[in-house]
C-alpha cells in the first residue's frame, strides 16, 4: 500500500502551505485533491493580506503571516506577486466612520500599527477616489498577492522538496483502528498515514463526517470582477463602499463584495462557480468608489465557494478521536493567513502544539453548536427553483 508520514487532504493554499512546512521539516508528505492545485477558493479570492485587527483571535496568526509573506516568494523559489504597500479602509458613511475609529482603537490595543487618514490624504493615496470619503484607516503592513501564483508557489516548492502531489484524486473514506486513522482511501487507492491533515475548505464538514465527527462549516459562494489593465494607480489594498480589492501588478482592478449565497458541496466533485447579476452591483460600487475610472471595461469575473464557521473564524485543531486527524479550515480568511497556517499545522503535526497563539480557533468553541445549526441560522441554500 502507498504510504506517507502525513496525508494532507486538499491542494488549496492552507493544505499546500501545511504540506510545504512539513516537507521542509523532513516529513514524507502526500497531498491529495479531487481537482487541481488552487482551483477552488484558494485561487478565486481577493488576494488580500492583512493583520486582521477586526478579528482579535486571528491577530497572532495574521501578524505571523504578514511577516512571512515578505520573504515567502524567495523562500519558495516561485513568485507570489506579494505587494506590501499597506491597506486602506475608507468610510463613506458616518456609521462606517464610527466603525473605523473602533477598529483603530482595537488595533492600538493589540499593539498593531494603524492610523486615521483624512479625505485629502486618502486622495493622495488613491488618486481619483470619490470625494465622498469621510476618512480612512491605514494599515502599513497590509497588502495583496496573486492568488493563483501564490498557491502554485506553495505546490511547486513542496514538490521541489520531494513532496508528492496527487491531483484529480478524491478522498472516499478513512480506515480507522482504535482512536487513529490508519489509512486514507482515495480514488487512486488507499494511502497509509501516521497523521492526516484535512484542509478541505467547504468540504471540511463532510470530510469530518467520514470519521464520525461534526464540524460546523457552511459553504458559500462569493463573486469578484476584473477590469482591463490600467497604468499603475495605487499599490494598496483598498476596502470601501462595500467592496474589497486591489490593483493587480499587471494593472487590472480586482474587486469583490456584496451578498454571498449559502450553498452545498459534495466530497468528490468541484462545486460549480457561476457568477450572478450581482457583478453589476459590484461594478456600480467600483465606479462610485473610483468615479474617474467609470469608462474602464470589465473583462472578467469569477466566483468561488468558501466556507464559514458559525463565528466566521478559522478552525485549526487536532480531533480528540481520531487523535491523528488535524483539521484546518479558514472561514474565507485562508489566503492571507496561509503562510502562518502552514507553520501552525506543521507544529501541531510534529509536536502536538505551537508557539503561535491559536487559542480562539479550536473546536471546543462549538461544543454547544447543534447539528441543525445551519437551518437555525438560515445558512442553507435557497429552495431549488429550477
Amino acid at each position: 500500500m502507498d504510504s506517507a508520514d502525513v496525508v494532507v487532504i486538499g491542494a488549496g493554499v492552507s493544505g499546500l502551505s501545511s504540506a510545504y512546512f512539513l516537507a521542509k521539516a523532513g516529513r514524507d508528505v502526500v497531498v491529495v485533491d479531487k481537482g487541481i492545485v488552487g482551483n477552488e477558493a484558494s485561487g478565486r479570492n481577493g488576494g488580500m493580506v492583512s493583520e486582521r485587527v477586526d478579528e482579535p483571535a486571528l491577530i497572532p496568526l495574521a501578524v505571523e503571516a504578514t511577516r512571512t509573506w515578505e520573504t515567502l516568494a524567495d523562500e519558495l523559489g516561485h513568485p507570489t506577486e506579494f505587494v506590501q504597500q499597506g491597506r486602506l479602509q475608507v468610510a463613506v458613511t458616518e456609521e462606517e466612520m464610527g466603525a473605523l475609529f473602533a477598529e483603530r482603537d482595537n488595533a492600538l490595543r493589540h499593539g498593531l500599527h494603524a492610523e486615521m487618514v483624512d479625505p485629502g490624504e486618502i486622495r493622495d493615496l488613491i488618486p481619483g477616489i470619490t470625494e465622498r470619503t469621510l476618512g480612512g484607516l491605514f494599515f502599513a503592513k497590509g497588502g495583496h498577492a496573486n492568488t493563483q501564483l501564490a498557491v502554485q508557489a506553495f505546490a511547486w516548492a513542496f514538490q521541489d522538496l520531494g513532496g508528492r502531489l496527487y491531483q484529480n484524486t478524491a478522498v472516499t473514506g478513512f480506515q480507522v483502528s482504535g482512536d487513529r486513522v490508519t489509512s486514507v482511501e482515495t480514488t487512486a487507492g488507499p494511502i497509509a498515514a501516521d497523521m492526516v491533515v484535512a484542509a478541505a475548505g467547504p468540504q471540511t464538514g463532510l470530510m469530518a463526517g467520514l470519521v464520525g465527527v461534526h464540524i460546523p462549516v457552511a459553504p458559500a459562494r462569493v463573486e469578484i470582477l476584473a477590469t482591463a489593465p490600467l497604468e499603475p494607480l495605487f499599490p494598496l489594498a483598498l476596502v470601501g463602499n462595500g467592496l474589497y480589492g486591489h490593483q493587480a501588478v499587471r494593472g487590472n482592478l480586482l474587486f469583490g463584495g456584496g451578498a454571498h449565497e449559502w450553498t452545498d458541496v459534495d466530497l468528490t466533485t468541484e462545486p460549480g462557480k457561476p457568477n450572478t447579476p450581482l457583478i453589476r452591483s459590484i461594478a456600480r460600487r467600483l465606479a462610485e468608489l473610483l468615479p474617474d475610472l467609470a469608462d474602464v471595461p470589465v473583462i472578467r469575473s469569477w466566483a468561488g465557494v468558501v466556507e464559514q464557521a458559525p463565528d466566521y473564524m478559522p478552525i485549526i485543531d487536532i480531533l480528540e478521536n481520531p487523535s491523528n486527524y488535524v483539521v484546518v479550515t479558514a472561514s474565507a480568511h485562508g489566503f492571507g493567513i496561509s503562510p502562518a497556517t502552514g507553520k501552525v499545522v506543521s507544529d501541531l503535526v510534529l509536536y502536538g502544539e505551537t508557539n503561535i497563539d491559536i487559542g480562539g480557533l479550536g473546536l471546543g468553541r462549538f461544543a454547544n453548536v447543534k447539528p441543525n445549526w445551519r437551518h437555525q441560522r438560515g445558512w442553507t441554500p435557497a429552495p431549488n427553483r429550477s
Partner: protein, 510 residues
C-alpha cells in the same frame, strides 16, 4: 424586469430565420443583435478579429445602422412577421440557477447598448451567435493589418469600412476563397491565397476565378513572418513546407501586403452556452467546441436552442446559407412547439422537411487542418512568438508555465516546470495555464488565443485536444465599461442590505 417568451440572440441568417419561423407560429419574438458595434470594441478585436483595418473614424452610427439593416434582407421580413428587432444591443451575460446558485427567479440575459445595461428574462432562448475567427500567431502578427475572415467580411459587407489595399489570404477552403473573392469585389487587391495543404481545398470554380484574376496560389506554404514598420504590416514572408510541416530553406517569398487575412477556420461562439451550462464537446467536424444538440437543435439545457455557425461551423456553410437558414427554422419550430404555439405533430412534420437541408453538407475534420497550420507556424516561427498578444505571452512561456515576464522572476527553481510530456505530471488544463501565464487574460478575452493554447497544450503534452478542458467562460463576455454595467435599475434595498463582508442576505439577489 422585462420578460420575453422567446429571445433570439444574433440576427444573422440562422437567427433571423428562427425568429421569423417562431413569429409565424404565433410566438412573440424578440431578436437582438450587437451590430452595429462600437469602434472601441473593434479596436479590441471584439467580437471579431478586425486587425485595426476598420476605417477610423467609422461612419456615424445612424449610417452604420442603415448599412447593417441593408446588408440583411431577411430583417425586413422578420419585422413584417411581427418580430421585435433590437439592433446595437449586445448580450454580455447569461445567468440561470444551478446547484450552487439559486437566487434568480428565472433564467435571464444581461443586455447592453452604447448607453446602459439591463437584464431580461426569457421563457425560451435561441442562441444564433455565429462564429469568430480562428487566430494563429507568427512573428509580426501583432501588427495592424493581421485580421480574420469574419472581421474582414463584417467590415466589407456590413460596415463598408475596410481600409485594406492589398491582402494576402491564409486558407484555401471556401472560407478563404470566398473572402478573397469578396475582397476583390470591394476593390482590394488580393496578392495571394496561401495554404499548408498541397492543393487548394475549396471550390474549384472559385479557385479558377481568383487565379484568372491574377491571384497567386501558394499551396504547401506557410507564413514565416510579417514585416512592417510603425506597427503596420508592409509585407509577408511565405515559405514552402514539407510533409512534416518543416520549412524548406531557401524557398522564402516576400509578398507586399498591408493585410494578412486569416481564413483558416471559424470557431463557434459558444460563450453564452458555456455560461448557461450547456454541455459542450470538442468536435473536429463541427469546428471545435460546440454544444451537444439533437437533430431539432435542442441543447442539453431545457429551453435553450442553437442554430447556425454556433451549432457547428464547417466550410460547406460558407457557400450555402440554406444550411444555417434551415437550422434557424428548426430552432424556431422547436421553440414554438415547446411554448405550445404549435402542435408536436406539426412541428415534427415540418422539422422532418427541414432536416435534410440543415444537415446537408458532409462536414470535414477541421482539426487536422488547424494542426497542420499550427505546426507549420511553430516550425517556421519558433517558440518565441506571442500566443497571447494582449498579455504578451509566448508559446514557450505557455508551455513552460512561466510567470508573467513583467515580474522579471529569477530563481534557482524557475523554469523547471512545464507541460512537455517529459516534464512530469503537470495537469494539462487551459484555465490553469491562463491563470499562471496570463495567456487568455487580456482585453480580447481570449478570443485570439484560446485555440492556439489548446493546440500547443495538445501538441507539447501529447494530450488529446478533446480531453483538455475548454477554457471557461465568464461574464461579461463582451468588455463592458463599469458605467454601462452599472445597474441603473438597482433597487434601493440592495444598498440598504449590502453586507460588509459576511452576513446572510440572499434577498438582494433575485
Amino acid at each position: 424586469m422585462e420578460s420575453k417568451p422567446l429571445l433570439v440572440v444574433g440576427a444573422g441568417v440562422a437567427g433571423t430565420a428562427a425568429a421569423i419561423e417562431a413569429a409565424r407560429a404565433g410566438v412573440r419574438v424578440t431578436l437582438v443583435d450587437e451590430n452595429p458595434i462600437d469602434y472601441s470594441m473593434m479596436r479590441l478585436d471584439v467580437p471579431q478579429f478586425f486587425g485595426r483595418r476598420a476605417a477610423d473614424p467609422l461612419p456615424d452610427r445612424d449610417l452604420l445602422l442603415e448599412r447593417v439593416v441593408a446588408s440583411n434582407d431577411d430583417l425586413a421580413e422578420a419585422e413584417a412577421a411581427g418580430v421585435e428587432v433590437r439592433l446595437g444591443t449586445c448580450v454580455w451575460g447569461a445567468f440561470r440557477n444551478s446547484a450552487t446558485s439559486r437566487v434568480l427567479d428565472g433564467p435571464q440575459l444581461g443586455l447592453a447598448d452604447a448607453e446602459r445595461s439591463w437584464m431580461i428574462k426569457y421563457d425560451r432562448l435561441i442562441v444564433a451567435a455565429g462564429a469568430r475567427d480562428l487566430a494563429m500567431s507568427f512573428p509580426g502578427s501583432g501588427m495592424a493589418g493581421v485580421m480574420g475572415a469574419n472581421g474582414a467580411h463584417a467590415l466589407m459587407s456590413r460596415y463598408q469600412a475596410l481600409t485594406s489595399r492589398r491582402m494576402v489570404v491564409l486558407g484555401s477552403g471556401d472560407l478563404g476563397l470566398a473572402t478573397a473573392g469578396m475582397a476583390q469585389d470591394c476593390g482590394v487587391e488580393v496578392a495571394a491565397v496561401v495554404d499548408v495543404a498541397s492543393s487548394a481545398r475549396g471550390d474549384e470554380a472559385l479557385v479558377s476565378r481568383l487565379q484568372g484574376a491574377g491571384v497567386e496560389l501558394y499551396t504547401s506554404h506557410t507564413v514565416k513572418e510579417a514585416v512592417g514598420s510603425a506597427g503596420e504590416i508592409e509585407s509577408v514572408v511565405l515559405v514552402e513546407i514539407d510533409d512534416d510541416c518543416e520549412p524548406v530553406a531557401g524557398t522564402e517569398k516576400v509578398v507586399a501586403a498591408d493585410t494578412v487575412c486569416l481564413a483558416i477556420g471559424l470557431v463557434p461562439n459558444v460563450e453564452l452556452l458555456g455560461l448557461l451550462g450547456c454541455d459542450l464537446a470538442f468536435q473536429s467536424d463541427l469546428g471545435g467546441w460546440v454544444p451537444d444538440r439533437d437533430d431539432r437543435v435542442r441543447t442539453s439545457v431545457e429551453s435553450v436552442f442553437v442554430a447556425g455557425d454556433v451549432a457547428g461551423f464547417h466550410d460547406g456553410m460558407v457557400q450555402d446559407a440554406e444550411i444555417a437558414r434551415s437550422q434557424g427554422r428548426l430552432a424556431g419550430l422547436a421553440a414554438a412547439e415547446s411554448l405550445g404555439a404549435i402542435a408536436e405533430a406539426e412541428a415534427l412534420a415540418r422539422s422532418d422537411e427541414l432536416q435534410p437541408t440543415a444537415y446537408d453538407a458532409i462536414p470535414a475534420d477541421v482539426l487536422s487542418g488547424w494542426r497542420r497550420w499550427h505546426r507549420s507556424l511553430v516550425n517556421a516561427g519558433g517558440m518565441n512568438v506571442f500566443v497571447c498578444q494582449c498579455e504578451a505571452v509566448t508559446r514557450a512561456e505557455v508551455i513552460g508555465l512561466q510567470p508573467p515576464r513583467f515580474l522579471e522572476w529569477e530563481s534557482q527553481q524557475a523554469g523547471r516546470r512545464g507541460l512537455r510530456a517529459q516534464s512530469g505530471d503537470e495537469p494539462v488544463n487551459a484555465d490553469r495555464v491562463k491563470r499562471l501565464t496570463r495567456a487568455g487574460m487580456g482585453h480580447c478575452q481570449g478570443r485570439l488565443c484560446r485555440e492556439q493554447v489548446s493546440l500547443l497544450l495538445a501538441d507539447e503534452s501529447g494530450a488529446d485536444i478533446a480531453e483538455i478542458p475548454c477554457m471557461s467562460y465568464r461574464p461579461p463576455v463582451r468588455p463592458l465599461p463599469l458605467r454601462i454595467m452599472w445597474p441603473h435599475d438597482e433597487p434601493e434595498q440592495v444598498r440598504q442590505e449590502w453586507p460588509k463582508w459576511f452576513s446572510p442576505t440572499h434577498r438582494v439577489l433575485g
